[in-house]
Amino acid sequence: MKTAVIVFPGANCDRDLAVALESVTGVKPDMVWHGDSTLPEGVGLVAVPGGFSYGDYLRSGAIAARSPIMRAVVEGAEKGLPVLGVCNGFQVLTEAGLLPGALMRNEGLNFVCRPVSLTVENAQSTFTGRYAQGETITIPVAHHDGNYFADADTLDRIEGEGRVAFRYAGTVNGSARGIAGLLNDRGNVLGMMPHPERRIEAAHGGDDGRRLFEGLLEAVGA
């Protein structure tokens, strides 16, 4: 499967994502600059990486979400193209309107950087087929703005539609209803604060993150 990783100034997980994607798909991803206005032909997945795009100016992900390439990503997502946003990438996807809600400063104001336990809330999605429903997995987080917020009606709706993919098993950042990973209504866009690309081999302490990419490859097809 051909994949693309979007590169913003200030992103710092783009290469980690590229390594993870290449290791699972066997194909080097296309690194796509934020100033480009089209995605490469035949891309089966777009990954929006973590980091500090534009130095988190204005709001985390706000400026990146308005960059030329994001118009192409939104268009692709609306046609069903799978899009994965990790950490800052999740913030970019909410700012771009692909996912509801917003990610705010962590409740305790601390930058949280450690492996966390997550519960797989929806193992049926394009992204989560290699997990068991209700399984507890470990994936690292590293963020300052991971405190998910949406109004009560939106939270009830996304819960009712099974769109919470992952939930923190403990207290991490004050996120509404412990939401760590969220799907769009069509199920082809996933935003998550934890970094699956940092957990793809034994040397990382486990491969719970790798299974996300494997499940995705299986669902989307090589």
């Binding site: 909410t94 305790g108 917020f149």
Partner: protein, 76 residues
């Protein structure tokens, strides 16, 4: 024309930074502070013919995230 855009968190949205400022004020011994909310002030210098609808669009599309923030425009 100079504009000042005040971006504030909507009521009910948790403001951990405001809370930390509140605690620090308490720590300095300032009594009687009931609440602190932190926001942003953005100053724009725009062409004189810029109309309200354009300014509103700037606020909605970029300057404020209306999921969590309100904004108010003041003409200087």
């Amino acid at each position: 024309m100079k504009l000042r855009i005040f971006v504030t968190l909507k009521p009910g949205v948790l403001d951990p930074q405001g809370k930390a400022i509140h605690k620090a004020l308490d720590g300095l011994g300032f009594a009687g502070v009931n609440d602190v909310r932190q926001g942003k002030l953005i100053e724009l210098d725009v062409a004189d013919q810029t109309d309200d609808a354009q300014v509103d669009a700037m606020c909605r599309q970029l300057l404020a995230n209306t999921v969590i923030e309100n904004y108010r425009v003041e003409r200087a």
